[in-house]
Symmetry: C2
Amino acid sequence: MDIAAVRTFVAAVDAGRFQSAAARLSISQQAVSKRIAALERDLGVQLFVRTARGAQLTIDGQVFLPHARTLLHAEEQAAASVRPGRRALRVDVVGRRLAPAGLVRDFHLAHPEIGLDVVTLPGADAAVDAVRSGLIDASIRAVTMPGRRLPDGVEATPVLDEPLRLFVGPTHEFATAATVATARLAGRRIWMPGNIRGTEWTAYYDEFAAAFGFTVDTIGPDFGIEVLLDTIAESSTLATFLTDRTPLVWPVGHDLRLIPLCDPTPVYPHSLLWRADNPHPGLTALREHLVASAPEHPYGRTWAPGWARTRRAASTLPPDADSGR
Amino acid sequence: MDIAAVRTFVAAVDAGRFQSAAARLSISQQAVSKRIAALERDLGVQLFVRTARGAQLTIDGQVFLPHARTLLHAEEQAAASVRPGRRALRVDVVGRRLAPAGLVRDFHLAHPEIGLDVVTLPGADAAVDAVRSGLIDASIRAVTMPGRRLPDGVEATPVLDEPLRLFVGPTHEFATAATVATARLAGRRIWMPGNIRGTEWTAYYDEFAAAFGFTVDTIGPDFGIEVLLDTIAESSTLATFLTDRTPLVWPVGHDLRLIPLCDPTPVYPHSLLWRADNPHPGLTALREHLVASAPEHPYGRTWAPGWARTRRAASTLPPDADSGR
DNA sequence: ACAATCCACAACGATCGGTTGTGCTTCTAG
DNA sequence: CTAGAAGCACAACCGATCGTTGTGGATTGT
């Protein structure tokens, strides 16, 4: 199916005559006739009834028309998505099914009029760099790393503290506990999935383990989520951290549990990053939406790494005192 | 923008390499390279970073990808809409913004999984003929005309009695009435808009006028809805019938009123038409939805033409006794 | 260092798409 | 009734485009 033929079809419908459509498209009437004939041959149905005073839609043509308009609209949207200048707001999230993607989705529901494109860049460094260079407008990451300052012009504000939960099998000591105090992790072994090595999670795990005296094991290469589930399910000592929002295809027959941690609840600090001189109107709306919807302290006493606590403290100031506003 | 290039782009993304994409599309690697280069030139942005072990999406490529998939999906839907055999359910409605279209819209909301295409055919005869010939699957019309039997195989069941209201200007005798008894129309002049002459409404008006003793005037040719509003607004004797669902662009400065009629309330009888041997699964769903959602007698005592009353009586039988079920 | 992999460029040929010219049908005005 | 106008389709021609084969440059891994 040729998109030019579809556009010609719509033009012919709107004009009512092939001749006027040809004039509007700046081609000859014969070209319109050939394009539509080719489209009809392609679809295998007749779209117009040709009469002496124009062309009239057949039933098939009437049915096809809204689909044709949709197709042209999709083409326009696709072209606009990469057109420089006044394009949709580009936001990077760490994963399309994780909590930050949920935040962006909520924003989209609250502001459906703001065009939105969501991307996932490989790693926090790439995300920060893309924000700095203007290739994307915003990113939701945990990038307030120790010793790693944000580039000039890039600003950040915390938008979500995501609580971690302990993920254990049925034979684990904590399997039947309603909640587990984080301090009880001391001296135990926590499994770190191989697929997050080298990501921004590593620094989080390191400080978390140091603060509460447990050890982090990396068990071999990453064989995928199924192997993770099997390993956890069969072990009475291994545990790992997941969040409520971690998407799992729960295997039938396994008896896995997500145990809440408390006193304090460890939280993973997601921040919004943007470039201070980015004039995109949607960016302001996104920032205000995220700041407004971020719960203050929903999980009682929480723990976050020192580099994140510093940011947290700053965020508790009134908005007027916040930098970059 | 060439749709084949977009399809090539998506194939290259899925494959990760131009070579494999070329194999999957049964073209040469060079053709893939040229198509994507042309697409990039067309869009004005780079979509891939070419490396020695494949092609990787740029940020622009990531943004473009979902739009590209949407475009291909739209193309597939468009082609499927006219493909013979297992296509979407085609329903004819008398007008896209009138009550029957609302019924179909409700059906779509209740059964979003059923593909639906809505068309508007010129006149009830064309609709009945299209149903008979199988070009469309169903129609909502008032086609149980006197002396005009449905073709063999075409069946009908009433689905909506739409109440008529009196439409008058501020100086009309009934302008301040909360309701008007239909019998009070006797001897008065009712204006029939010119654009419904020759349609199925004519027979309705004729019998309605005969039953209640008013006269139907046709005032000149149809100059559009604005002229109708002006005429009604300035007249102290003219009135016309409209329904709640009639879409009007209410003019500023006019003081027009829609007065309910009662004792009995005249209703316009919309029926669903379909071909008995049409096996489309969506058709059964549509019929059951419309029959189930049709209110029995929502407007108190109602009046409908004799040819419609006959059908009404038949429809009050239990479903098992209904023909064609 | 060499082979393998992957993509881009060049040249050539076939197909496609647009234009001009023409003919047929239908509607309308005289 | 007839002639003209309007509207679309068919035919011939021609140029642009698209795909192919052949080749080269760059990177990775052995």
